[in-house]
C-alpha cells in the first residue's frame, strides 16, 4: 500500500479518539498544498490529494499544537516537523499525551521559491496549470508548455541536510523508517554571508529588509514562537519597535526573533517560507543554531527530556571556560 494510503488508514483509526487530525490537503493550485483539519472520516479523502503528494507537504503542522492545547489532537509530521513537537514538549508548551503523532518516511519537501526560480525568465509559479511527479522529476505544465525539473533541485535546503527523515517521536508510523542518513550540516549558506565584509553584509540586510512589510508571517509561522498575541513588536505597550517605516527596526525585530529562538529553533525554515517578501530570515536563526551547537553541543528538538541550554543556568558551563578568560 502506498504511504499515502497507509497514512489515510492511520488517520481514520485515530479520528475517533481526537478532536481532529491535522494533515495536508489541496491548496489553491497544482503546486500548493494547505493544512487540512480532518474532523470527520470524509475529510480524510482530501489528505494528500494533490499532484505533489508528500513532496508538497511543506507546512509544519506542529505550529497549530499550542493553540489547541487542552484538546487531544492528531498530527501528521515530516521528520523536521516532529522535532518542533519534541521541542514544544521539552519546553512544556504542549503536553505529550495530548498529541497523537503520525510519522512517515519523508523523502523531502518542495521549495516553491526554487520551483519559481527554475522556471524560464519572466515566468512565475502562479502560471503553473498542472503538475505531476514522475520518478525523480516534477513535470509542470504552464498552459501548453511543458517543463521538467529534477526533484533534487527543487527540494528545500533543509531536506538536503536532514538527519531525521523519519519522525523523532511518533505514536503511529506509516511504512518503515529508513536508516538516518549520515549528513553533516556545513552551514555553507552562512559561509557565503560571512565571506562578505561587514559593510557588504549590512548592505545585504538593508536591501533585503527594505522589502519587509511587517506582516509578521515569519513570527506567526514559527512553531516555537509562542508569545504570539503578546509580542514585543506590538504597537501598544511595550511599543519597543517604532511604527515608522524603518529598515533598521525591521532588522531589529528579526534579531529579536532569532535571539528568542536561540537554542530552541529546529531550523524548520517556516519563518523564511512564510515571508511574502522573500527575505532570507533563516540565515539569522542558523547563525544562532550553529553557535548553540558549538558552545552547548545542543541540537533543538531531538530529546523531550533535554533542557534547552538557554532556558537554564549552570554555574560552570562545560564549554565556556570563563575562569580561563584573561
Amino acid at each position: 500500500m502506498a504511504i499515502h494510503e497507509q497514512l489515510k488508514k492511520i488517520i481514520l483509526d485515530t479520528l475517533p479518539g481526537v478532536e481532529c487530525v491535522i494533515g495536508w490537503g489541496p491548496g489553491q493550485d497544482a503546486l500548493h498544498g494547505s493544512p487540512v483539519f480532518m474532523r470527520k472520516p470524509e475529510d480524510v479523502d482530501s489528505f494528500m490529494d494533490t499532484p505533489l503528494g508528500a513532496f508538497g507537504a511543506v507546512n509544519n503542522l506542529a505550529l497549530f499544537l499550542p493553540e489547541l492545547s487542552g484538546k487531544k489532537v492528531g498530527v501528521v509530521v515530516k521528520g523536521c516537523d516532529s522535532r518542533s513537537i519534541v521541542q514544544l514538549v521539552a519546553e512544556k508548551l504542549i503536553k505529550r499525551e495530548e498529541v497523537v503523532i503520525i510519522g512517515f518516511p519523508c523523502e523531502g519537501a518542495a521549495d516553491l521559491t526554487k520551483i519559481e526560480k527554475a522556471l524560464p525568465e519572466g515566468r512565475e509559479a502562479g502560471e503553473v496549470t498542472g503538475a505531476a511527479i514522475v520518478g525523480e522529476t516534477l513535470k509542470l505544465s504552464l498552459g501548453s508548455e511543458e517543463i521538467s525539473l529534477g526533484l533534487a533541485d527543487i527540494k528545500a535546503d533543509k531536506c538536503t541536510r536532514c538527519k531525521t527523515p523519519g519522525a523523532v517521536i511518533s505514536d503511529a508510523f506509516a511504512g518503515i523508517a529508513g536508516k538516518a542518513p549520515e549528513v553533516r550540516d556545513e552551514y555553507a549558506d552562512l559561509a557565503a554571508l560571512e565571506a562578505m565584509s561587514l559593510d557588504e553584509r549590512f548592505k545585504f540586510w538593508e536591501r533585503e529588509m527594505s522589502r519587509c512589510i511587517r506582516c509578521y508571517a515569519c513570527r506567526n509561522a514559527c512553531p516555537l514562537c509562542v508569545c504570539r498575541d503578546h509580542c514585543v513588536a506590538g504597537s501598544r505597550s511595550p511599543h519597543w519597535i517604532t511604527q515608522t517605516d524603518s529598515t533598521r527596526d525591521k532588522l531589529m525585530f528579526q534579531i529579536i526573533h532569532a535571539t528568542h529562538l536561540a537554542g530552541r529553533c529546529t531550523g524548520c525554515g517556516e519563518c523564511q517560507r512564510a515571508c511574502p517578501a522573500g527575505i532570507p530570515v533563516l540565515l539569522l536563526k542558523r547563525t544562532f543554531n550553529r553557535g548553540v551547537a558549538e558552545i552547548f553541543g545542543y541540537d533543538a528538538g531531538m530529546d523531550t527530556e533535554a533542557t534547552p541550554p538557554l532556558l537554564t543556568f549552570q554555574v560552570e558551563e562545560a564549554h565556556i571556560k570563563e575562569r580561563e578568560w584573561q
Binding site: D29, P35, R123, E124, V128, R214, C215, A221, P276
Partner: protein, 363 residues
C-alpha cells in the same frame, strides 16, 4: 486624444522625462537574482524594472504609505504653562505609478468613499489620503497573463479594465501603447518622446486584452455574498473550519490593495516627537484591543470572519453593493497557509465547487 506609443528602448528616457514633474514609481526586482521579489520602488534609470511577473505587494503604499507622519510636535513651556508646537509635514510630491496591474488601481476606488467623504455623508474627509490620491497618476499596465490566483472578473474587473486607471498601457513586443483614460492622465502623456500609436498597434493591444480576459475562468455569481455572510455570522462551526489553518498574521491584509485600516501612535524622544499613522490589520490581535484590556475579537476565527465579512458583506452594504475586493489574489498567493478567500466566500454562499476553483484544484 489619439493613443501614444513608447518603444522599449526609449521607455527609461520617457520615465526620466516624467521624473521632472512626478516622483515616478515602478515595479522593480529587488532580489539577488533574475527571480528576485518584485515590489514597487521609486524609478531610477538603472533600476531592474520588471513587468513580466506580478509585484508581490500591491501599489497601495504609493498613495497610502505604510507609515506617515501626521504631525511633528515639540513640548515645552511658555509663561509657566505647558506649550505645544505643532508642525504638519509639507505636501508630498506629485507621483506617477507606472506599470501597476488594473486590480491595484481599482483598489483605490474602494479606498475613496471611505476617505473622501462621499461614503460617510461628508463626515470623514481624510486630507492626508486625499492630497496624495489627487496628486497621483496611475499608469496601469494591462495584464498579459493571468495567474491561478487572479479573479478580478468575479468582482467587476478585468486584465485591461480601465476603472481607476488614468492611463492604460499595453505591452506589445516592441514597446508600450499608452491610452489616456482620465484628464489626470493627460499630464503624463505630454512628452515629445511619445509617438502616435498606429492602427495595427491598437489592434494588437485589443487582441491582447481579449486573450487575457478569455484566460480567466467564468465568474460565479457573488451577489448573494452580502446576505450569505451576514447569515453565517453566528455559525461558529463554519468559521472554525475556514479559519483553522490561518496563522493570524498580517500578510493578507498588508499585501491587499483594498485594506485601508490604520493605527495612530505617538513616538517621542525627549521634547520632540511625531504622531504617526501606520498600517494596521484586522487579522492582528491588537486591532480590536480596547483600553480596558477587553478584546471583542478573541481569536483568529473572529478576525478572519471580519476580514471576509467586511469585504464581501459589510462594505458593500454601506457602499452601493460594491465588493471591497478587487480580485488581485495576493492574499491567496502569499498566504503561508494557502487560505483562499474565493473558497470562503463561495462556501458561505453555498456554491462550493465553483468552476474556477474546481479546475484549479488538480491543475
Amino acid at each position: 486624444m489619439s493613443n501614444k506609443f513608447i518603444s522599449h528602448e526609449k521607455l527609461r528616457d520617457w520615465l526620466e522625462d516624467l521624473s521632472a514633474r512626478f516622483e515616478v514609481w515602478a515595479p522593480v526586482n529587488t532580489g539577488q537574482d533574475a527571480k528576485g521579489v518584485v515590489v514597487y520602488r521609486p524609478f531610477v534609470r538603472d533600476g531592474a524594472l520588471e513587468f513580466a511577473r506580478k509585484p508581490v505587494e500591491s501599489a497601495k503604499h504609493t498613495v497610502f504609505p505604510r507609515s506617515e507622519t501626521l504631525v511633528n510636535f515639540k513640548t515645552g513651556a511658555k509663561d509657566g504653562k505647558p506649550a505645544l508646537e505643532l508642525h504638519v509635514p509639507e505636501d508630498p510630491p506629485a507621483r506617477a505609478v507606472f506599470g501597476l496591474p488594473s486590480c491595484d488601481a481599482r483598489g483605490f476606488q474602494i479606498f475613496d468613499p471611505v476617505y473622501n467623504g462621499s461614503g460617510t455623508q461628508g463626515l470623514a474627509r481624510d486630507n492626508y489620503y486625499l492630497r496624495r490620491r489627487n496628486a497621483t497618476v496611475l499608469i496601469v499596465k494591462a495584464c498579459s497573463k493571468v495567474l491561478n490566483t487572479c479573479f478580478c472578473n468575479w468582482v467587476g474587473g478585468g486584465p485591461a479594465c480601465t476603472e481607476g486607471a488614468d492611463v492604460l498601457a499595453t505591452e506589445l513586443p516592441d514597446g508600450f501603447i499608452l491610452a489616456q483614460v482620465t484628464a489626470r492622465g493627460e499630464a503624463a502623456l505630454g512628452s515629445a518622446l511619445l509617438a502616435p500609436a498606429s492602427d495595427s498597434q491598437e489592434k494588437q493591444a485589443r487582441k491582447l486584452h481579449e486573450e487575457a480576459g478569455a484566460a480567466l475562468c467564468a465568474p460565479p455569481d457573488l451577489s448573494a455574498s452580502v446576505s450569505a455572510l451576514r447569515g453565517k455570522f453566528d455559525d461558529s462551526a463554519f468559521w472554525e473550519a475556514e479559519a483553522s489553518k490561518c496563522l493570524s498574521c498580517g500578510a493578507c491584509t498588508y499585501l491587499c490593495p483594498t485594506c485601508y485600516c490604520f493605527n495612530i501612535t505617538d513616538e517621542a524622544r525627549g521634547v520632540l516627537g511625531a504622531r504617526i499613522r501606520s498600517w494596521d490589520a484586522c487579522m492582528l490581535p491588537l486591532f480590536t484591543m480596547e483600553a480596558s484590556g477587553h478584546n471583542p475579537r478573541t481569536g483568529k476565527i473572529q478576525r478572519l470572519r471580519n476580514r471576509i465579512g467586511h469585504k464581501f458583506s459589510y462594505y458593500p452594504s454601506l457602499h452601493n453593493g460594491r465588493i471591497a475586493c478587487c480580485g488581485c489574489g495576493r492574499c491567496i498567493k502569499s498566504c503561508p497557509s494557502s487560505v483562499d478567500i474565493r473558497r470562503i466566500v463561495t462556501d458561505a454562499i453555498g456554491i462550493t465547487g465553483t468552476a474556477g476553483l474546481k479546475e484549479q484544484k488538480n491543475g
